[in-house]
Amino acid sequence: MSENMNLTLKVWRQKNAEAKGQMVTYSAKNISPDMSFLEMLDVVNEGLIKKYEDPIHFDHDCREGICGSCSLHINGRPHGPKHATTSCQLHMRSFKDGETIVIEPWRAAAFPVIKDLSTNRQAFDRIQQAGGFISVNTGGVPDANEIPIPKVIADEAFNSATCIQCGACVAACKNASAMLFVSAKVSQLALLPQGQPERYRRVQAMVAQMDAEGFGHCTNTGACEAECPKEISISNIARMNRDYFTARLIKDEV
């Protein structure tokens, strides 16, 4: 059983979207290695509130690594040092007593800071609204087993579908590109038979919205894949590019 730790935190504080932000230093004392990273921040915040000070604001909700709310840039890496782990599932045993931890929000023009460590990621919602769906109304659909799907295809679509829309891929990319996110969404539906009727229209609409939101271009550095907490594969980007070019060349709809 390891001992409790004392840590120094350097945290980005920014009152609101318009305000100028700055790094502020805090100390986190008597931190148990069994705490999650967010619980460590809870402890710091309880201390601030007791002094009538403004607690550090960060997005979080399920704390099970699935809702995609948490979005901390920890020591220069989205979601911190542990591979395939969201900020909420990161535990303090990944840090050492006496360590200084730098915590920043996602940095991307398309994700403006709302306050402190929380950013506005609604650009992702708008990309989904542009085409991330299959146009079926409730009712009047065929029996589920009338659409057989080979297991390998279903599994591959599933791998793309595990994206939690957190935005770590954008935060990791030096160009703040959203290609990994968009391609995962495009891929899931492009792989499945249900997604075929709108396949080429979808990819064009989603890419157009991605560009309109101000995300950067992909230069194949692979940082997104390395930092993705759900291990979404960069091969999705290749698939999306292929579909996009096909759409532009032969099926000029939208």
Binding site: G132, I134, S135, T138, D143, N145
Partner: protein, 644 residues
């Protein structure tokens, strides 16, 4: 007011189709003249918003999260039941209905449950059409598994993240309607109150969680799809933001609260590791298929284990008590959730708990690993073992897991009739937020089914009846009720912001959770509940004097958000205790010490308690009035559950 459940006449299997025919319809060209507010974007909310928008209604959708996709339905792991009988193993709508009524310990409405089972098959079709990637067999068809002790394989699943995949399906349908302009989405907005005009719901008041602006929104009807209230216990498997505020405010505006004391406590969660703990993590109950639950035979051995003087793996067989296998030889480790949970608590109360805190029992896979081999155990449970390892830093392949029950789901919620309408006309309640389908205990893989049934296949029919009745005259926020309710909301916010005491809101919340867990959790007694009532009243008074709520309204202020939610939990907690006091029977997950068999097992009392308790709010700090909806069973025979 008399409770009218509006259950249609006629044979069980024909009630819903007959009812659908009798409901009034809204002319297609008139639908665009109506606005419907949907609060919450989980499975119930998103599916309702999308389906209503597709029909042509204008929908305003609200969630406190930054995106509709983050609602807590996203975290459901196991699966979703449907009576497809794809496995040819004898499943049917009637069997799913029967299992659900029995599993709910005979405290749910037959007609509602039958409808749920009936539409379950449509849900799977709908989700597949949306591109939800359910697990499949090599032949390309859908795979099923048996879940939660069911004797048929009717559970559809998507690895360990069925909730996320179903919600993404509903979110995609909703996104499409947002783009089409039929849904106006308000994310990072919290509902603060319901506005009623002449007793009918006509809108809501919200707070923009970024700017603090208090806004009024008018509509022809309001749907609350705001989830459960498990966070009244502070520690639960719910997300941090889950709260009772929307339904509680509706309750105070006239909606009766049904069976508030019915909470589900799940046996296989990762135990609390310390004071700092903010939430609990569930592990699928499928683990009990191969894990053996045990505790040290004596307090002395448990003490040595807690102090790490001996290692658990060195403990001899004769020093271990496989208490579920010992007490329930027929079912062993596979007894239902409630029985497993209650027994773990008894062990801990006897001082035989393990782990640093002493609040846990073991779930041991050593026997399975030696019988099946580590690889086969990994193939079945690998992701759960990894999750456990990540959170606890203990390797479950080498030593037993530590588990302890945690609050997971609330069967209680706003009372609704067969149309999902609350006692306030125009105010509907869907999904976990209502009380309707699970009785005193919810079966595994039934929550997702109910959320989507309500949203996709019930509300689109039933809401039309009400809307056609009130007519399509335009609505706006000019009625004085909007200004009054808004003022009420603003005054309360100012009252909260004036609290400059010495204790944080989280500290009050934690205290409330401890009271609820101790006295209104798995085991309850009259003496304990009376004590809890006093403690909650004291805590509530102390909150309104000594809490700290820093900052202002006109900014992002999570302390203020939490304070409002905890203030509501402090009121709900007392109602839960009152409801538990009234129900002098052991039922579902709730063991009432005064109501047990000679062998110490739960004893249900059908003669006196086969009713839904629907509570009517009267005034602050005064007792609520209990209304009873008698439950009539015409198609299932009530029997006492036994697992010996």
């Amino acid at each position: 007011m008399m409770l009218d459940s509006k259950i249609p006449d006629g044979p069980l299997a024909e009630k819903w189709s007959k009812h659908k025919f009798n409901l009034k319809l809204v002319n297609p060209s008139n639908k665009r003249k109506y606005t419907v507010i949907v609060v919450g974007t989980g499975l119930a909310g998103s599916s309702a918003a999308a389906s209503l928008a597709e029909l042509g209604y204008n929908v305003k959708s609200f969630c406190f999260q930054d995106s509709p996709r983050r609602a807590h339905s996203i975290a459901a792991q196991g699966g979703i039941n449907a009576a497809k009988n794809y496995q040819n193993d004898g499943d049917s709508v009637f069997r799913l209905f029967y299992d659900t009524v029995k599993g709910g310990d005979y405290r749910a409405r037959e007609a509602n449950v039958y409808r749920l089972a009936d539409v379950s098959v449509n849900i799977i079709d709908q989700c597949v059409a949306q591109g939800v990637p359910f697990a499949r067999e090599y032949g390309g068809l859908l795979d099923n598994r048996s879940f939660g002790g069911a004797q048929v394989s009717r559970t559809f699943y998507a690895r360990g993240q069925t909730g996320q995949q179903l919600l993404l399906g509903a979110y995609s349908a909703q996104s499409r309607q947002i783009k089409l302009g039929k849904i106006e989405q308000y994310s990072r907005h919290e509902m603060m109150d319901v506005v009623t005009v002449d007793g009918q719901a006509k809108g809501i008041i919200t707070r923009d969680l970024i700017t603090g602006e208090i806004e009024s929104h008018a509509a022809h009807a309001v749907l609350l799809c705001t989830g459960g209230y498990g966070n009244v216990f502070y520690l639960s498997t719910n997300a941090m933001g889950c709260n009772v505020t929307a339904t509680w405010k509706a309750h105070k505006r006239g909606a009766y609260f049904g069976n508030p004391c019915f909470t589900q406590i799940h046996p296989t969660c990762i135990p609390v590791s310390g004071e700092h703990q903010s939430k609990l993590t569930l592990m699928s109950e499928s683990l009990r298929n191969d894990g053996r639950v045990w505790a040290p035979k004596t307090k002395e051995i448990a003490e040595k284990l807690r102090k790490s003087e001996i290692k658990v793996t060195d403990l001899k067989e004769e020093d271990r008590d496989y208490f579920l296998e010992r007490k329930y030889p027929a079912f062993g480790n596979l007894v239902p959730r409630d029985v497993a949970s209650r027994n773990a608590k008894e062990i801990v109360d006897e001082g035989r708990g393990v782990g640093k805190s002493g609040i846990a029992v073991y779930l041991d896979f050593a026997e399975s690993i030696s019988r099946l081999g580590e690889d086969s155990v990994r193939a079945k449970y690998g992701n759960l073992f990894d999750m456990y390892y990540q959170i606890t830093d203990e390797n479950p392949y080498q030593q037993p897991m530590r588990i302890y029950p945690a609050v997971h789901y609330t069967m209680g919620g706003l009372w609704v009739d067969y149309n999902l309408q609350t006692t306030v006309p125009g105010l509907y309640c869907l999904g976990e937020a209502n009380f309707s389908d699970h009785g005193a205990n919810r079966l595994g893989a039934s929550a997702l089914m109910q959320g989507l049934a309500d949203g996709y296949f019930v509300i689109p029919y039933t809401i039309g009846d009400y809307l056609a009745t009130i007519g399509p005259a335009a609505v706006d926020t000019s009625h004085p009720a909007f200004a009054e309710t808004k003022k009420h909301v603003e005054e309360r916010i100012q009252k909260l912001l004036s609290l400059k005491g010495t204790r944080t809101v989280d500290e009050f919340h934690r205290d409330l959770g401890l009271i609820m867990w101790e006295y209104c959790g798995m085991a309850r007694s009259e003496e304990g509940l009376i004590k809890a009532k006093g403690l909650i009243q004291e805590l509530r008074a102390s909150f309104w004097k000594d809490a700290i709520v820093p900052g202002t309204n006109e900014e992002v202020n999570t302390s203020l958000e939490k304070a409002g939610r905890v203030a509501d939990f402090l009121e709900l907690g007392e109602l839960m205790v009152d409801d538990a006091l009234d129900r002098r029977e052991s039922c579902g997950g709730h063991f009432r010490l005064e109501s047990q068999t000679e062998e110490g097992e739960a004893l249900r009392d059908d003669e006196n308690y086969a009713y839904v308790a629907a509570w009517e709010y009267k005034a602050d700090n005064s007792p609520e009035e209990l209304h009873k909806e008698e439950l009539v069973y015409e198609n299932v025979k009530l029997s006492q559950r036994s697992y010996k």
